[in-house]
């Protein structure tokens, strides 16, 4: 079993503190969902875990099985088992999807231990079929000209090919129609197991109808303010966030402290 432990995490962007002490522990074989109104720091948490250069960690720790993640470069974090399905994946012209994924797999496997082309193609074909992706997407340039839904599927394709220990899915459901949402959920559910832990970041309970989380956390004002089981998400869907604010005495006006950052 692996464990991702986030302790007292404070993160600033351009000098402004967004996360103000996040505590979260995720084990493999667990799916956690983080919910919350817009601008409460959910995406900042995802970016800080992955090591986005714009986000500055000013206090706290992130560890995977005792290894200090914050000391690692972005690629080292990936090699340590982290994966972030991004809200806005980059487009890279001239680099095919297949070449990119193969380079990423080989970067993890290391020199001398590269995946054979045949094995790679077999796995890629199989996974694309599973995600109901057109096989020509393998030869298209990475995310270039992909629709919103195609980009999200492509993130899930990369996740399934790279087999991370911990995947963070940042608003993977935004902009998806119900069919695409089901496919994305199918991908995540297929990964669930002893070697996989997942952190879903979402506004909407809808995604959680297809991926049942083990834990649900509510984030507000840069902190996790409430945690519970799947029933918490249902309650949020039915009643909104007002009752939590009341319960915790949070002023409405403070709720929006961050613009959603890319």
């Amino acid at each position: 079993m692996s464990t991702l432990v986030i302790k007292d995490l404070h993160v600033a962007i351009e000098g402004k503190e967004i996360l103000k002490g996040v505590n979260l522990t995720i084990n493999t074989n667990e799916v956690h969902a983080i919910m919350g109104p817009n601008g409460t720091g959910k995406s900042t948490l995802a970016a800080a875990i992955m090591g986005h250069p714009k986000y500055e960690v000013i206090q706290g720790t992130i560890e995977i099985d005792g290894q200090n993640v914050l000391e690692m470069e972005v690629d080292e974090r990936a090699k340590a088992g982290l994966f972030l399905a991004m809200q806005y994946p980059s487009e890279i012209s001239g680099v095919t999807n297949a070449d990119f994924i193969r380079s990423a797999i080989n970067a993890r496997r290391g020199e001398g231990n590269e995946i054979s082309i045949m094995q790679f193609i077999r796995e890629l074909d199989k996974t694309m079929e599973f995600l109901e992706m057109d096989s020509e997407m393998a030869q298209r340039y990475l995310n270039e000209g992909f629709s919103g839904g195609e980009k999200k599927r492509n993130e899930i394709l990369q996740m399934m090919m790279l087999k991370p220990t911990f995947a963070i899915l940042d608003e993977i459901d935004s902009g998806l129609d119900i069919d695409a949402l089901k496919v994305v959920a199918k991908g995540v559910n297929a990964m669930r197991g002893e070697n996989f832990g997942c952190l879903l970041i979402t506004h909407y309970q809808r995604l959680l109808n297809y991926i049942t989380p083990d834990y649900v956390h509510v984030m507000m004002q840069g902190r996790v303010v409430k945690s519970g089981g799947p029933e918490l998400a249902k309650k949020l869907e039915a009643e909104g966030y007002e009752w939590i604010k009341k319960e915790l005495g949070i002023e409405n006006t403070d709720a929006v402290i961050e613009k959603e950052e890319v």
């Binding site: 990936a78 980059s90 890279i92 990423a104 790279l162």
Partner: protein, 435 residues
């Protein structure tokens, strides 16, 4: 402006060189007239690069004699470019010496002419005289054009008769392996009506340095409805002063696709101009460049619209590193009367070092109302968001940059129709980016 007009060759030397080649009188006269003019004509003026101090004139030897080699004995670097078993139409020139020439019986029977340039002057005088520096490039347009006409010492001539469609690429390799050599190569391609051809050339230095001149003029004449695909990869050694002028003249409904990988290690002035003279003619121009070291280079790509409904697309992607200085001029010019024409261009420059200098100058000159035109230009560093995205998959920063650069230069690599040439360009890019 007074300019030092002493040329490296006199009129009598030009005459005697012409005589030693048994050239017809018209060509000897043309050379002699050109050397006189070269002394008077002004230099070309590449926009934003001052070439006053560049030496385009002096060289140690006008021609060098190189040994021939059998096709099995080709140097490894040349072999890699060619699929020997498959390539039926091939010209290899070693420095100034025609070394290998193959043309399939089938094409010969169809009337295709493919031969080294000086042989063409002797044996196909009618065609050469009609098109040599008369239509696309004029021998009196500036000093370097006249100097070229006077001193031309190699190159190739390709004529595709009416209605002949050549399926397989014609391949040419200009090998430079003698430091003393100068290249005054002339390439003349005449594609007659309704013909179609793919031509791919490599300029390849296998010596580290050069002491001579590379003054290269290449002309493509595409008559009505002809289609020409022109691929080139230039890798000339440091030490040359390179002037390379590739120009096309298109008649009605003719079409040209340029795919140019300009990877010289020398200081280089490159000019690539397409004249869309006929109505409905079109040009697709793709150029990629990697500039390194202390190179100074100027690349001008121009599509000039004369004909109605003509279409021109210019794509230029340049990578500039170390202390290299590189200017990219992209010009779309629509002349009065060229209505319903479309001039589009995209210039992008990726800077890999703080000391490098790169400039993209998109220019649209429009003298007609009813047209479409557009341009996009950018000069910048590798996008940190792209790097972050790729690194988040476990790819190191260096590898991510490498992938982004290869992707950036892919438009030309992917357009080259010969596998060996494609691989070589990828290898050259790799070498230049890694260094």
């Amino acid at each position: 402006m007074s300019i030092e007009t002493k040329l490296a060759f006199s009129a009598s030397e030009v005459r005697s060189f012409s005589e030693s080649n048994n050239e017809p009188k018209w060509f000897a006269d043309l050379r002699a007239a050109a050397i006189e003019k070269a002394a008077e004509l002004p230099m070309p003026k590449p926009d934003k690069t001052n070439i006053e101090k560049w030496d385009f004139i002096n060289f140690p030897k006008h021609t060098v004699k190189s040994d021939l080699f059998a096709i099995e004995e080709l140097p490894e670097e040349v072999k890699e470019l060619i699929d020997i078993d498959y390539q039926e139409n091939l010209y290899i020139q070693r420095n100034n010496t025609p070394a290998v020439l193959k043309l399939s019986e089938e094409l010969k029977a169809q009337g295709v002419i493919f031969t080294d340039f000086l042989t063409a002057v002797r044996e196909h005088g009618d065609l050469v005289q009609k098109y040599f520096m008369t239509t696309a490039v004029k021998s009196d347009e500036h000093r370097l054009a006249a100097y070229h006409a006077a001193l031309v010492n190699g190159g190739v001539f390709l004529y595709i008769p009416k209605n002949v469609v050549i399926e397989k690429p014609i391949q040419v390799v200009f090998l430079h392996d003698d430091e003393e050599a100068s290249l005054f190569n002339h390439v003349l391609i005449v594609a007659d009506q309704n013909s179609s051809v793919t031509y791919v050339e490599n300029y390849l230095s296998t010596v580290e340095t050069a002491k001579g001149q590379a003054n290269l003029i290449e002309e493509v004449i595409a008559l009505d409805n002809a289609q020409v695909t022109f691929g080139a990869v230039d890798v000339l050694a440091k030490g040359f002063t390179t002037y390379v002028n590739r120009r096309a003249h298109l008649n009605r409904d003719a079409k040209i696709n340029w795919a140019l990988g300009l990877m010289n290690n020398s200081n280089t002035i490159s000019e690539n101009i397409t004249h869309l003279v006929g109505d409905g003619s079109s040009a697709d121009t793709k150029t990629v460049v990697v500039a390194t070291g202390e190179q100074k280079q100027n690349f001008t790509t121009e599509v000039r619209h004369w004909g109605k409904n003509s279409e021109g697309f210019i794509l230029t992607h340049g990578v500039v590193k170390d202390a290299a200085q590189t200017i990219f001029n992209g010009i779309g010019k629509i002349e009065h009367g060229a209505s319903k024409s479309n001039a589009q261009q995209e210039s992008r420059v990726l800077m890999l070092s703080g000391k490098a200098r790169g400039d993209a100058n998109p220019i649209l000159l429009i003298d007609e109302n009813d047209v479409m035109a557009g341009h996009a230009a950018s000069v910048g560093r590798v996008d940190p968001t792209q790097l972050y995205y790729m690194m988040s998959r476990g790819i190191s920063k260096e590898e991510a940059e490498r992938l982004i650069i290869h992707g950036f230069l892919a438009p030309v690599v992917n357009s080259l129709p010969i596998e060996g040439v494609k691989k070589q360009l990828t290898k050259v890019i790799e070498g230049k980016v890694r260094k």
